[in-house]
């Protein structure tokens, strides 16, 4: 049975398991969608019927500690010959608070620690409430999503352990290790650390870093400070650097690369209930003297209660190209149940100095209607106009049922 079939069976399995758990509470969302778009690979129109399902089965035991969570999708192409496809994002059983100290998760799950992030078919165990430090470990098959299908194979594994502070209000710290195998060979060996500290009621300092044990270098390093003199005003300053490292099973891992650095400054200001502003500047530093500049301005306006207007402008004068664009979105609540919205994205960009400016415009309109407490229907249609396409229409109709 291929991976496609397996995912389908697992998705159906969640539905079958649910009724058997008589004492359980079953909640989730069924989202039935019709999507139509231009398939870039064969330049033909494609229409897909999709079913997204999120499910939680809780209170499987008397104490309410055992649960099952699932999330996945199935799609059927109706006219372009791509057929049936499915993707399982997660499906795991959880048992929390064993002796008030241990949490277990078993199954497919998204795991996140500073040293690495993965979707694994495996287990995660967390030991908590044993002092100021909690511990977590996960391991399993590393799930890799390619364009349409899962692209991993038997020898893809991921393992991670972390220790982190628990029970502190103003201080967070985590130290973690992440290892990834590719076809049974060690592909990545990373150490990670992250911290956050609030000071004096108006300062937050934070940082994180990833150290590649194979390349013996910091893969990523971030340090930042936020100063909020008023409840509605936040200044942010950040330094970030990265040194690209590759899986050690790839030939690219032995090649020399350049370090990238950036320094960012940003302000967020909520003037009142009607106006929120933000703006920032990022200086980019590429090795060998290259520089780039990114400017960003944004605002959220609520001039009257049912209307919200978002405007974002950003200008990137990069070392290798430039982008200059604006996004405007508007939302209007016609009634309590009906929201209409629309927007424009307008981008002018230049890939490099040898090429001319190109312009891309996307216009979209949408509407959402809440039929009752548990059912919502929505429609979004967008048209993108570019140098390649005088019109590229795509859209989706969605019917959500919350249960």
């Amino acid at each position: 049975m291929g991976m496609k079939g397996l995912t389908g069976v697992l998705l159906l399995g969640t539905l079958l398991v649910a009724p058997a758990a008589w004492s359980a509470e079953i909640h989730g969302r069924s989202s039935t969608q019709l999507l139509w778009f231009n398939n870039d690979y064969n330049s033909r129109r494609e229409t897909d019927l999709a079913e997204y399902l999120r499910l939680s089965v809780t209170n499987l035991d008397k104490a309410g500690k055992a649960s099952i969570y699932g999330y996945g999708r199935m799609t059927q192409d109706l006219n372009n010959g791509n057929g049936f496809n499915s993707r399982l994002y997660y499906l795991y059983g959880e048992y929390r608070d064993l002796f008030d100290k241990v949490d277990f998760r078993l199954g497919r799950q998204f795991v996140n620690e500073e040293a690495g992030t993965a979707i694994v078919d495996g287990a995660q165990v967390t030991l908590k409430n044993v002092g100021p430090v909690a511990f977590s470990a996960f391991g399993g098959r590393n799930v890799i999503f390619d364009l349409d299908n899962e692209g991993g194979h038997g020898g893809n594994l991921a393992l991670g352990v972390s220790a982190y502070l628990q029970g502190f209000k103003a201080t967070d710290f985590e130290f973690s290790w992440f290892r990834k195998w590719d076809d049974w060979d060690i592909a990545q060996d990373m150490l990670g650390a992250t911290f956050k500290q609030y000071l004096f009621n108006n300062i937050k300092i934070y940082g994180n870093g990833r150290y590649d044990l194979t390349a013996e270098t910091f893969n990523e390093l971030l340090g930042g400070i936020k100063y909020f003199p008023l409840a509605n005003l936040i200044f942010t300053g950040e330094y970030y650097q990265s040194y690209p490292t590759f899986d050690s099973t790839s030939i690219y891992s032995v090649f020399a690369v350049d370090r990238y650095r950036e320094a960012a400054f940003r302000v967020d200001y909520t003037i009142n209930e009607m106006i929120t502003l933000n703006g920032g500047y990022t200086a980019q530093f590429f090795q060998e003297g290259g520089k780039g500049h990114i400017y960003h301005l944004g605002c959220i306006l609520r001039p009257i209660d049912p209307l919200q207007l978002n405007v974002e402008y950003d200008n990137n004068q990069g070392y290798n190209g430039s982008t200059n664009g604006i996004i405007v979105d508007a939302y209007y609540d016609l009634t309590k149940a009906l929201q209409v919205s629309g927007g424009i994205a307008y981008d002018v960009y230049q890939r490099d100095s040898l090429l001319q400016d190109e312009i891309a415009r996307t216009y979209w309109l949408g509407g959402k209607y809440k039929l009752n407490k548990s059912m919502t229907a929505s429609l979004r249609v967008e048209n993108t106009v570019t140098d390649q396409f005088s019109s590229n229409v795509q859209g989706r109709f969605v019917f959500d049922y919350d249960f």
């Binding site: 799950q109 364009l147 982190y164 592909a187 030939i251």
Partner: protein
């Protein structure tokens, strides 16, 4: 004297920090539907900055790390995966979709044409959500020469060759080697010139002498023998 001063400073800072820190985090579950603008009313007085400000998309990677993270009190895993792996159940009307996958706001207007510029900014940004095979699987579906790569525009009937004499490719490759990997996942074109078997140009970084054993220990002979004869590395 200097040591005493440093020790006193360290103890003072530690004591102060612990005092600042020692307090239980509260659950946020019941505030999940509260407007973000209302968060300040509690958070400012407690010395905790709101973490969902306008810069949230870029800033959340630090917050979402496990240390003290309470994201799961308000968000399911699906909330993360809708952006990071192209889900779609928590999408709103402003969320775009690329085929069946839903994409974050960074994938704006004509992202197929724009993504080379974005990808060359911060080399790590794409890898946060996409495995290298995601890039190469897409690039391999386009005919050779149809992708406009700066250093490839000079040579070949379909612009599918780079121009080594201009040294352009070396600068590009060092700056964003992921872009090479997107079309040449096995690096076969690189080893045509960089192989030690042929006496080619050494591509290793300056500190190679101190780290080469790390690669040999982890990936065995799989990588080394692409360019070196067995026993010569």
């Amino acid at each position: 004297m200097k040591k005493w001063f440093l020790a006193t400073l360290l103890i003072t800072v530690t004591t102060f920090s612990v005092q600042m820190a020692l307090a239980e985090k509260m659950s946020h579950k019941e505030y999940a539907t509260t407007a973000i603008s209302d968060c300040n009313s509690c958070h400012k007085s407690e010395g905790v900055a709101p973490n969902h400000e306008g810069d949230w998309v870029r800033g959340h990677r630090v917050l979402a790390s496990k240390a003290g993270s309470n994201c799961s009190q308000c968000h399911d895993q699906s909330f993360c995966l809708d952006c990071h792996s192209g889900g779609g159940i928590d999408r709103d009307l402003s969320t775009r979709n690329y085929h069946n996958d839903y994409v974050p706001k960074s994938h704006r207007s004509n992202f197929l044409s724009l993504h080379p510029v974005k990808a060359l900014d911060n080399p790590q940004s794409c890898n946060r959500c996409h495995d290298a095979s995601y890039c190469s699987e897409c690039h391999s579906r386009f005919p050779k020469g149809s992708l406009r790569i700066k250093s490839h525009l000079m040579l070949g009937p379909n612009h599918q060759k780079y121009a080594p004499a201009l040294f352009e490719h070396a600068t590009e490759a060092r700056r964003n080697l992921q872009s090479c990997q997107a079309c040449h996942p096995d690096g076969d074109v690189c080893v045509q010139c960089h192989s030690a078997k042929l006496g080619g140009t050494n591509p290793h970084p300056r500190n190679w002498g101190s780290i080469s054993d790390n690669y040999r220990d982890r990936a065995g002979s799989k990588v080394c023998t692409k360019c070196h004869l067995p026993g010569t590395y």
